[in-house]
């Protein structure tokens, strides 16, 4: 749509190319600005902590070729895996069901509030949309009360702990799954509704006249057409839930059920000072799942955040 000639107008060859050169210099410069904190982190994370000087945080460890850059070592990454292992496992236990549940329920809600049209649904839908913008602080104390004093999830899990792979502390992760599902629903519903509004009514109407039930319409027509949107929603929710700290901090609080973001807060600090290689390796390890998802499905992520 925006071609060079269309927008840059008629220029002399030299003036034109100079403009373009400046443009690309600025674009590359901004690219460097966004990448450098991650790049320095990556370089620091592969320096052996004993030889780390901090003089050239942006250079790879090239000792003895370049003095002062430290020696190459995977020790920080090993330390990070040790320190975050349990948190990573807990985060996976949390994020997979929470993502699927919020996506599926969001799709169902959007279907019932969009494809099937009825009076007053917009009022219900507004309550969904407003939920996107709630500052979570406004619900924290009730949530803690609810999960610790009202719902006896813990007692429920005590007998279950006899089963293989189930531990008593998993009750906190279940509480977190349900909480994240509820708070992810508004944005999922919004994304699916935008998608369903674009679908043509004809198929649904024809199916209704054929006597198809609402459940059949959803399963046979809407669900198959939702698959591209499910990709967008799952990627968005995965990133949000994986990255969250606040709910974990107030519902899990501490102990064996701590998720990866909680473990990351305190890593790399000790009496003897800050172990920057370890801390950077841990930060990158905790970010790795969302970074990979972003690198492979970046276009879908962009679609999710821009909606």
């Amino acid at each position: 749509m925006s071609t060079e000639t269309g927008r840059a107008g008629e220029r002399t060859l030299f003036g034109h190319s100079l403009r373009r050169v400046i443009l690309y210099v600025v674009l590359v410069g901004m690219g460097a600005f966004y990448l450098i904190p991650i790049e320095t982190g990556l370089m620091t994370s592969i320096i052996s902590p004993e030889t780390y000087t901090g003089n050239f945080p942006y250079l790879p460890p090239l000792e003895p070729l370049v003095p002062g850059t430290g020696e190459l070592s995977l020790e920080p990454w090993r330390g990070a895996i040790d320190g975050l292992g349990q948190g990573l496992v807990n985060s996976v236990i949390l994020v997979v069901p929470a993502t699927i549940l919020s996506g599926l329920l969001g799709s169902m809600a959007a279907f019932g509030l969009t494809t099937i049209s009825w009076r007053g649904q917009i009022g219900i839908y507004i309550l969904f949309v407003a939920g996107i913008f709630i500052p979570y602080q406004a619900v924290l104390v009730p949530l803690t009360q609810f999960w610790y004093n009202v719902v006896p999830l813990r007692e429920l899990f005590e007998p279950l702990a006899a089963l293989p792979l189930v531990e008593t502390y998993h009750w906190k992760l279940l509480a977190l799954i349900i909480t994240h599902t509820a708070y992810g629903l508004p944005i999922c519903t919004l994304l699916f509704r935008a998608h369903y509004k674009k679908l043509s009514d004809e198929m649904v109407e024809a199916a209704q006249l054929d006597g198809a039930s609402i459940a059949t319409i959803y399963r046979r027509i809407i669900l198959p057409l939702s698959i591209p949107m499910f990709a967008v929603v799952f990627i968005y929710q995965f990133t949000q839930i994986w990255n969250d700290l606040l709910f974990a901090l107030t519902i899990v609080q501490f102990g064996d059920a701590a998720v990866v973001t909680q473990d990351l807060v305190g890593i790399g600090v000790s009496q003897s000072g800050t172990n920057f290689p370890l801390r950077m390796a841990a930060a990158l390890l905790a970010a790795l799942p969302t970074l990979l998802v972003y690198i492979f499905f970046g276009d879908k992520f962009a679609k999710g955040v821009a909606a």
Binding site: I38, A109, T290
Partner: protein, 331 residues
């Protein structure tokens, strides 16, 4: 012969109209046959979930903010008053504590400063970058991917990266400052620079988002508008200022709402940057103050009252936005 599908559609439309104005007087005549009821298995369970967890919790929080709930034990709902709000505005010694409690003005002020500086700079950077990316550049997808990359990271992770960038001895920011003969400067613990450092790191993380929103806005403007301005002989800067930017109002408003709400949620970032509940008075925002009062000090009811104030701030921004979206039929 008429297309059978057209006939069916007309019949269906008539069928719909009966529903739309009557409600009860449909052909089947049963309340169970209404579309709202028949589709309830789909929308009702999610609605109950958000009704309980979001709206139920908000109401419960308001009630909790009127109690004296403090420390261990459970809240006493028999004596409700506005004491926590009085304390929040004026400070003093509340009945539930023997210690003096500070008012929230400092945190509220920091919240507003952070919110305004962060969102305005994000929008400005995002707009300039969107215009640059929109010049028909090569490798556009690569540039866009890089600019949006920080947004895929957790607040906790970005805080760790910037803590390192800002470090007095080994941070890149101080190395660059040293290169031009300034510093080294203590940034993270410096009361004068703390909030700016936090805002800068958040701008790093979210300006790519503003760019994506603006880019979509720019792409929606017909090419003829650019061409018309060209024909009129407007300079590039003039064209964007007078013709293009005014058409980006919708993009600006929606990005602004999302960014301000993000800044209200900056708790995760501050918690990770300062390794706990204590960012210090010059970087304390309502979001951190609330969690600290409730979860570190055990002043649950007072924390709830601060949360209500935060909620009102968010509502003041979001309610007009949702209302105009509704009026335009864009929901």
């Amino acid at each position: 012969m008429r297309n059978p599908l057209t006939i069916l559609r007309q019949r269906l439309a008539a069928h719909r109209e009966v529903r739309a104005d009557g409600g009860t007087a449909t052909e089947a005549g049963s309340i169970l046959d209404r579309d709202s009821v028949r589709s309830a298995p789909f929308w009702l369970p999610p609605f109950l979930l958000i009704g309980l967890f979001i709206y139920g919790a908000i109401i419960w929080n308001i009630i909790l903010s009127l109690t004296d709930f403090q420390g261990l034990g459970s809240p006493d709902y028999s004596a409700l008053d506005f004491e926590n709000y009085v304390i929040a505005f004026t400070g003093g010694t509340p009945s539930w504590s023997s210690l003096t409690v500070d008012p929230v003005w400092n945190a509220a002020w920091n919240t507003v400063v952070l919110m305004v500086s962060f969102s305005v700079v994000c929008l400005a950077v995002g707009l300039v970058m969107a215009i640059l990316v929109d010049q028909g550049i090569r490798f556009e997808n690569t540039f866009r991917t890089i600019y949006l990359l920080p947004m895929s990271l957790s607040f906790v992770v970005t805080a760790k990266f910037w803590l390192y960038m800002y470090n007095v001895e080994t941070g890149l920011v101080n190395l660059i400052l040293g290169g031009v003969g300034v510093g080294p400067i203590e940034i993270v613990q410096n009361p004068d620079l703390k909030l700016a450092a936090v805002a800068f790191a958040l701008i790093w993380q979210f300006s790519g988002y503003a760019m994506i929103v603006y880019l979509a806005g720019l792409r929606a403007i017909p090419t003829s508008h650019f061409e018309a301005a060209r024909v009129d002989g407007a300079s590039t800067i003039r064209m964007y200022w007078r013709v293009i930017i005014p058409q980006l109002r919708t993009a600006t408003v929606s990005a602004l709402v999302v960014l301000t709400v993000f800044s209200l949620k900056a708790f995760d970032f501050l918690f990770s940057m300062y390794g706990g509940y204590q960012p210090g008075p010059s970087a304390d925002i309502l979001a951190t103050r609330m969690v600290r009062e409730a979860y570190a000090n055990g002043n649950w009811a007072y924390g709830s009252a601060i949360a209500v104030l935060l909620f009102i701030m968010a509502l003041a921004i979001v309610a007009p936005y949702i209302y105009t979206q509704y009026q335009r039929g864009e929901l």
